[in-house]
């Protein structure tokens, strides 16, 4: 169940040792449980993402690493050492804050040098390392500027340089891209990954944006209401979600509730009231027969074919082996340029979303409103969820 469709990013700098270990971490604020018995290991060299909706506890977890929150129960280890007693200014981690928190009354160079000054690094050495850090984030020559002369993206680079110049064991990033506009966000996304590859430091990022997590991270933890929902690589998260919450939160999905009708080692059948025909799967489900399951089907994995109105109804048996086919009618078309989103109404009234890339400029198969179509998907495409 965990074979990814897409090659993982090559990560020669990821080592086997767990640089961070959360052990039975719980955090309560009065009666509210913000983090609920989390166990998690993060390996050295990873670019790890904590992903989840707001209020899921991801920021609390990150702030525990920085030392701004203390766990109610459980222990946090960095490099195998329990850091419960260390105040924020004594920990071998540094943080890039959501607002960047660049000191507004200090020059860029003084901002970057601040951490070194606190460590008592000698002036010449400090100057050299500041220079180096600014070069690293492509701000060489900006040392004499004041923060109010910088753009948002540049201020973020200052915050990055200021944290990296201290050569932390782990760099923490709190929603690093949320304050940037769309174009800059795409650019910083790839810069962050190449920066991490260059410095080889473990990065841990908190984000609520699934695109961001999928694109940047080597591994993600999805959180919901204080609990870890799933920890996996981006591709595994998207293609093999462990629950309805993950399937729904990461990407767009068509979800059908059904009953497990037949379950063998290498095939299974699910009957969903919303789909006339049973859904055929080419793998087993390891669930009790007759139990309720959910079938999650990604829109890009559904093919759409013309269904001539007069033609004899295609039977499921006639479909190519290993394919599920259901009839429907196109009810809405949203053209987005590179792709088009179709909303197809099945016979029972359920609407199913499907994407199509617009691969050619003309002569494209010409679907229109209220046109009858076949929807087809391969038996390996749906993910079956037990919770």
């Amino acid at each position: 169940m965990t074979e990814a469709a897409i090659a993982a990013r090559p990560t020669p700098h990821v080592k086997d040792n767990a640089i961070i270990r959360f052990e039975n971490i719980t955090k309560r604020y009065g009666k509210v449980v913000a983090v609920d018995n989390v166990n998690l290991e993060i390996r050295e060299g990873e670019f790890f993402a904590l992903l989840g909706p707001s209020g899921c506890g991801k920021t609390t977890l990150l702030r525990m690493l920085a030392g701004f929150e203390t766990p109610t129960e459980g222990r946090v280890f960095i490099d195998g050492k329990d850091i419960a007693e260390l105040p924020p200014n004594k920990r071998p981690v540094n943080m890039v804050f959501q607002s960047y928190a660049v000191f507004p009354h200090m020059k860029v160079a003084d901002n970057v040098a601040y951490g070194l000054k606190m460590d008592g690094v000698e002036a010449g050495e400090s100057r050299r390392r500041v220079e180096e850090a600014l070069e690293l984030v492509k701000l060489g020559g900006y040392g004499d500027r004041m923060p109010d002369q910088l753009s948002g993206g540049q201020r973020q680079r200052v915050a990055l340089a200021r944290a990296l110049v201290k050569r932390p064991r782990v760099l923490l990033l709190d929603e690093p891209l949320s304050a940037l506009d769309a174009k800059l966000r795409d650019q910083m996304r790839s810069e962050l990954t190449s920066l991490q590859e260059k410095v080889g430091i473990t990065f841990i990022m908190v984000t609520h944006d699934q695109d961001e997590a999928l694109a940047i991270a080597t591994r993600c933890a999805v959180m919901n209401r204080g609990l870890l929902a799933q920890v996996a690589t981006p591709a595994d998260l998207y293609e093999f979600p462990s629950s309805r919450f993950v399937a729904d939160f990461v990407g767009s999905v068509n979800m059908f509730e059904g009953v497990l009708a037949d379950d063998k080692h290498d095939e299974a059948t699910v009957r969903c009231p919303e789909i006339a025909a049973p859904i055929y799967l080419d793998h087993g489900v390891t669930g009790a027969q007759g139990s309720t399951v959910w079938v999650a089907l990604r829109p890009e994995k559904i093919e759409m074919h013309k269904r001539p109105e007069g033609a004899a109804p295609m039977k499921m048996e006639d479909a190519p082996a290993g394919t599920n086919v259901v009839p429907g009618i196109i009810r809405d078309i949203v053209y987005l340029g590179s792709e088009t989103i179709f909303e197809v109404e099945l016979e029972g009234g359920r609407r199913v979303k499907t994407f199509r890339s617009n691969l050619t400029r003309y002569d494209q198969e010409d679907f229109t409103w209220d046109e009858p179509v076949w929807l087809a998907w391969h038996a390996c495409s749906p993910a079956v969820l037990l919770s």
Partner: protein
Amino acid sequence: MARERKEKPGPLEYNRRWPLQAIVGATLFFLYFPLIILMVFSFNDSRRNIVWQGFTLDYYEKAFNNSSLIEAFANSLTIAFFCTIISVVLGALTAVMLWRFRFPGKTAVEGAMALPIVVPEICMGVAMLVFFARVMPWPTGMPWPLNLGAIIIAHVSFAFPFVATVVRARLASFNRELEEAAKDLGASEWRTFWDVLVPHMQPGLIAGALLAFTLSLDDFVITFFTAGPDTITFPVKVYSMLRFSVTPEVNAASTILIVVTVVLTAVGLRMQDQQDQKAKAK
């Protein structure tokens, strides 16, 4: 884009509304007329006449040669100086405390803070009079500037809440992530306070200091009730000069006080504006 421009309709649009213009213009003129007369007549070459007799600086010369007026002015400046220092320290501490900590009775303290701003000054004056006359008489015959102690305490009691209010307002715009960033980079609590919080408070501290200074310099009522017979401040001196008659000398002294106050306030506002614009540019 258009959004910005629509904020500023041309003068034409305004001219169409001349009745409004006329009312407000007349009001401003009428209300400021007394102040203008006061200043103009400090330059009038006549002791009693309200008709313009010619320009003169005589009364300013006289004012500067009036040693008791000069002494009063020196007293006022000294009081304002000490009052400012004490008010800024106390006000800033109070503001930080109210901003930073939760503690039992916080709301009560916040309410109490506003009291001296609200209480009628005549009542403050009476309270100070009662206090220093009966409860804790300030020793008389002490050397300058110790003889000003009672007045300074009285001034601090109404000036420092203003400082606290101004600094508290400034603190509301503080980004707490700055503080966390400093700690994250290795700074202790104390260094964080000096390196991050104090620079942020600075415009508030300056504005508060100027406010305390002018409040102290200009105060008449409370000083009048608190001051012993041998400690005269500038406003009290002006008042006592008035008791004999309204001479152009009084006009001159008043004009000087007005100019000092207005200049100080203008400087303070300018400094705050610059800080605000910097903050906006961010």
